[in-house]
Subunit: 228 residues, 4 copies
Amino acid sequence: MPAVASPASTVSQPTITASRRLAARQARRQQLIDATIESIARRGFSGTTLATVTRGARLSHGVVNFHFRTKEDLYVETLGYLAREHYALWRDAMLNAGPDPAKQLQAILEADFDRRICSRKKLAVWFAFWGQAKYRPAYLEIHHRFDDERYVEIYRLCRELVASDRYKGADAEGIARSIEALVDGLWLNRLMYPRDIRRQTARTDCLAYLATVFPHHFERPETQGCAA
Amino acid sequence: MPAVASPASTVSQPTITASRRLAARQARRQQLIDATIESIARRGFSGTTLATVTRGARLSHGVVNFHFRTKEDLYVETLGYLAREHYALWRDAMLNAGPDPAKQLQAILEADFDRRICSRKKLAVWFAFWGQAKYRPAYLEIHHRFDDERYVEIYRLCRELVASDRYKGADAEGIARSIEALVDGLWLNRLMYPRDIRRQTARTDCLAYLATVFPHHFERPETQGCAA
Amino acid sequence: MPAVASPASTVSQPTITASRRLAARQARRQQLIDATIESIARRGFSGTTLATVTRGARLSHGVVNFHFRTKEDLYVETLGYLAREHYALWRDAMLNAGPDPAKQLQAILEADFDRRICSRKKLAVWFAFWGQAKYRPAYLEIHHRFDDERYVEIYRLCRELVASDRYKGADAEGIARSIEALVDGLWLNRLMYPRDIRRQTARTDCLAYLATVFPHHFERPETQGCAA
Amino acid sequence: MPAVASPASTVSQPTITASRRLAARQARRQQLIDATIESIARRGFSGTTLATVTRGARLSHGVVNFHFRTKEDLYVETLGYLAREHYALWRDAMLNAGPDPAKQLQAILEADFDRRICSRKKLAVWFAFWGQAKYRPAYLEIHHRFDDERYVEIYRLCRELVASDRYKGADAEGIARSIEALVDGLWLNRLMYPRDIRRQTARTDCLAYLATVFPHHFERPETQGCAA
DNA sequence: CATGAATGAGTCTTCATTCAT
DNA sequence: AATGAATGAAGACTCATTCAT
């Protein structure tokens, strides 16, 4: 114990120890969240217990209720982590894409099919939470909060593209909705048929849709077969 | 009924009783399947127990294991029922749509947004099963079997439309995949945001997509706002 | 239904029908008892349910409670049947063995290793009931009743042999007890190690014991190896 | 407490705690095994449930599945405990009996009628397990393993006695088998008729048998009536 | 902070028994 | 007499949560 080893540091020590403690605490929490994702991905929601989580994290049984008041708390934070991770990714991509709305829109969608998001593991967890959302207000709230923000941006970009006056009568709202639905559907199909629908295929299908509705802004991607 | 026709009915009696029994048995099974759907819709997968099912059916808890070997069996048959119901609906619609591939395609998709399929209740159960499919081979098998058949038809129709030679370079396969993804995604969004996305809105979005990729065959539907 | 077919027999019919009914009833009961023995032999006491019994008897679920008030009743009657069967066998053998006590004693013991008694099937059921006897007064009572009668005879014969004055100081009571214990023990070992201890081996061991304690009345049997 | 005794105790602390934990764990397991024996003795196999066991141990019902994976596991370990207990007893007795085979043989058999083995309680459990053995390979395996070892020794001793050349034509194998059968049979009768057959009576009967087959090595015991 | 033993509510499943047909 | 559907009590097992160390 350093506290005992160096009596001279009595003043600054506590603060350092405290922050170090906090960091360790955070690490533990993240360790548990990661293990939760892993377990849900491998065993599904109903197959996941605190035991599978702690075993996966190589920690003792009791820690969970130490770091998280309840199992539900752990789940909520896990979902929050996933949501924030996705959010950060598409947000950054969008912000770094420059002023062109088409580029921004594409950046957002590319993020959706990023390796870190569109992996089977993450999708499995993602859908597991969706499947429960209806019965857990806490999950629903998280989904809503992040989805709303995303829809706002996509809708904005669609509107801007439509406003460029080359797409008469186009329904920006409907297109925004469809884009979101398409991404969700592609994710779902990728989860269910990972062999038939590779990540690149899904991405291509999505971009093909953009090229169809906004032909002046998006090029039709190379036809991407199932094996791509 | 021979029992009425001939005085020798003592022979045929057992048959009548047997068939009556069988009918009653079937009715009970369906009653339990309905209660299962109801319970999953209301409480989700993890909130559904045999107790909630039997309570919903106003039966004793022993019946389930009487009519279905196991809880899992009940679930499998419930999923099978849903899948067959959906299948029968779009199949009939397609067959009754005449020879025009566009009409057939539209008929299939209209069925997807039919009241009996696209209700919140059914969707909730549908997604509950999807969420579990990865961990239950039996569910997966059912999903695959019905999805495959549906994809075959949709792909066929897309191919026929593309072959009409007015859509150069169109990727029938990709379009078929996208249609399915779009439907799934619209369903999911309808489940999560039933207030924002009404059944008609989802249907319109879907038809709008068809009008975009096959403009010579489908008319752009009336723009349908969220409140529609 | 014959009762309907011949209206002339209205007088004598009832009696005949009644006795026929009784016979049929008895047959059903025996059918169930046989199935019970079969099931206990194959699955043990705890593996036997009314379902396994009725299935074995190719009868419907409900008959048991029709012919026997309760499951326990069926068991009691099954044990009674076994006990009576054994009793009849050794009793007949003894009575048919003539006046010589040695012959009578041997006859009793030969019956113990008769095919009909000392089969694995019967032994399994026999021990299953013994295992429960302590907790079911009804079983205990049956065991006691038949065992007592048997002990009385064996003890009598031992006494007569000892009284022949060629076995000074022999303890007839102890020998009688030992004979019974030996038979029970051989049965048990035969049940547990049917391959090592064949029926003939057990019989020989038993007779060898008689030849040891009553050498003037019993000849030492041919040494019978395990394979005999 | 070592923590007080030595300043370096911080290192050994975990080990001590661990070993203490292990001891406590073992104690709990034994507590449950004891309660299982108690319950089977009092209520029989079919009357014993995890509830009766835990109630007897004054523990909550969850513990069983905590310390033993399954009820069957608990049973297997209970049987193992009984078998080991018996084994240790006769083995020790034999090893401490000196070089004389007759003394060794007697020692083994005395152990069989020791208070700790031949109590009604233990016998009841013992036979309960025998009654199930045919249907539970795990039980059978334990019985076989320990029985074999015992038979090997008894057979060896019988052979040595026979080889002393004073028992011409004696069948060592048959005698060994009979000894085991006799013990089992005496146990069984003691279980069924505890009032008629006291422990000492059974012991005497057994020794009387030895005196009969090996008169040069064993003295005929005092005649021991039922009331002894 | 961490461990892991312990608790007890909750779930599925089995099965003897009842009962309408 | 017989069938088989239905009941509900009881049992084994799971697992989130608590708590002493």
